[in-house]
Symmetry: C2
Subunit: 411 residues, 2 copies
Amino acid sequence: MASTTKISPLAPKGGFPKLPVIDGIRFSTIAAGVKYSDRTDVMLAEIAAGSAIAGVFTKSSTRSAPVLDCQSKMGRVEDDAKGFAFLVNSGNSNAFTGGIGVSAVEAITRKTADTLALPVSHIYTGSTGVIGEPLPYDKITNTLDELSQTLRADRIEDAARAIMTTDTFAKGASATCEIGGVEVSVSGIAKGSGMIAPDMATMLVYIFTDAKISQLGLQEMVSRLNEGTFNSITVDSDTSTSDSLLVAATGTSGANVEDNETFERTLGVVMKDLAHQVVRDGEGATKFVEIRVEGADNNIDARKVAMSIANSPLVKTAIAGEDPNWGRVVMAVGKSGASADRDRLSIWFGDVLVAKNGWVSPDYIEADAAAHMKNEDLLIRVDLGLGAGQSTVWTCDLTHGYIEINADYRS
Amino acid sequence: MASTTKISPLAPKGGFPKLPVIDGIRFSTIAAGVKYSDRTDVMLAEIAAGSAIAGVFTKSSTRSAPVLDCQSKMGRVEDDAKGFAFLVNSGNSNAFTGGIGVSAVEAITRKTADTLALPVSHIYTGSTGVIGEPLPYDKITNTLDELSQTLRADRIEDAARAIMTTDTFAKGASATCEIGGVEVSVSGIAKGSGMIAPDMATMLVYIFTDAKISQLGLQEMVSRLNEGTFNSITVDSDTSTSDSLLVAATGTSGANVEDNETFERTLGVVMKDLAHQVVRDGEGATKFVEIRVEGADNNIDARKVAMSIANSPLVKTAIAGEDPNWGRVVMAVGKSGASADRDRLSIWFGDVLVAKNGWVSPDYIEADAAAHMKNEDLLIRVDLGLGAGQSTVWTCDLTHGYIEINADYRS
């Protein structure tokens, strides 16, 4: 099915970007035949000793065996002299597979650890693809020797391709900054959020940097940045059982970025870029939409309103129809559960003030708003007129493409 | 647009049901030209003195002027010797219309009160249709004389037709019971949840009975029943700014139903029937789906899980595709926020046990579940295996029809 998929119209122009090589990180990929044929489906990332590993994961109560395993290992360093590894497969998510799923993770992490001479607790796995089917883990363990012998620092694009399921394009992003006269690089890859029957949308993100930072410092930074990036995107309000974000900091640049705001901003740029690319590959998406909410009682209320708008099927279909249907935005504000006063509410589509103080703006010309809606990248801005709370989230439209991908088949 | 709409495939067979006449209630309708031409769009229900009126309304923070006006009047009886009236228009929802909207409600309730010689506080209005446009209330007030002169007890079907917007069929239901040897009747009508640009889905429900009950007793009964009926349906998770349910009990049968469980069950039958009809007229719906959740820690958790499944675009598209995609049900359980243990979860499609104790059932034959999915009426049952909490909700599938209705136009 992947072969017939057209690249999303919202894909970044120019193809996969050139990402800086991160000293201390090497990649290899292989076609293990987990489910797909004629394509790579396993990637190994080897990470130098002394690196810090941080991560955030889906909050789903039905999360997958690999996610539970990664969470149990986070923050542990069994041997300072030993490095780490990420081992990720596509084609099978090893989710809702009971005790067999746990055994599969054990087999894969054991074999990876043995092959690379690392502690098992230093091996993080990720799986994405079909749910509820046993992962044929021997197909993966059989490839470890070859994977370990073909590691190269400049193969991150291959890694990005090996973890794709029904993504229509490989996702990569990078940024650099200078810390104390030393250049620090951040390179990351992501997959999501395509889906084929009976697969689940899964977002997997792996980011690498040569910055030097403690595990705790990196974890706090990643958790903080995650709120405004990956946790602020939504394609269809459905949360995967496998979402995982892992960040490895090798320290090989020698630049200490503990509590460093410049580095945090740089890491944030890469996380936001990858998060946006996931939305731009949303199922059936033809519009990329920023929802910016201001003037809420507090940030929590602002986020409720922003997510209520971003997840509303009526708002998303109006966007697909290029219809500046502000009534649906009012509806979404009203149902959000956040404090709102109808008569203080203002709404903009792009720069066009549509509604003001609870009614259509006297200066509103629908043709202006309709012109904005024809753009590929849209902005819907809401001012609740109550306080200083604000939130920005990103979403895409809801089109026939979404129905085709998710309904027009029989498994 | 209404003229080209095909009747929902899920509409009750046999057309509008024959509803018992309720002594003390009379109806009239007229084509006022609020927005539509060539059809009735205003209905008046005259309600005898001594009746009890109860109601529940949308919790939206951006609710319409008529809703706010009704809420302010609920439970008030200014003059025991005077009756009540419901005055409802389609074509314009008078929502998000600022101070002009309040003036429109005042003008309509004043004219209705004057014409029928009733206190203004005894007049309840409802409006459904386009949002954000001033309601041309003079078109309505101009019809009051004729409306008041054409009232008849047997015109409830006409009333049901006058309040339709893009409903594909008129909705009515009734039930009777015997209380102390006296037959008590309940007849109700509803509209929802079709929608055309730029209208909003609105659910309006009016129920009449000749039972004798206090306002407080009726209100408590209606609020209680509402949870398991209208509050347990969802088409697309979007909440209208105008949803209103009003129940009038005339007492003309002489049967006292204060705290009477038989009557409460009877009223519940009518409310559930009308609620199901709203789902059966859901936009683009081809399947009517009951979601039954058992074994939750408590009823609140059960409801969270049921609504998470019922509102999941991935579950709804799978249903549209007649795909027994239980992985998406697992996903929806996981994201619901309710307590769940993956390894205690069981899922049935109809009578077919699909997943058990966190993995696909050893006896599962996909063809059996696929056969169930071909039905028009479906059941998805989930047992969380934790406690005694349960909840049942009803929804429909998500199809190309929904996208066509809501996206394939330009306003």
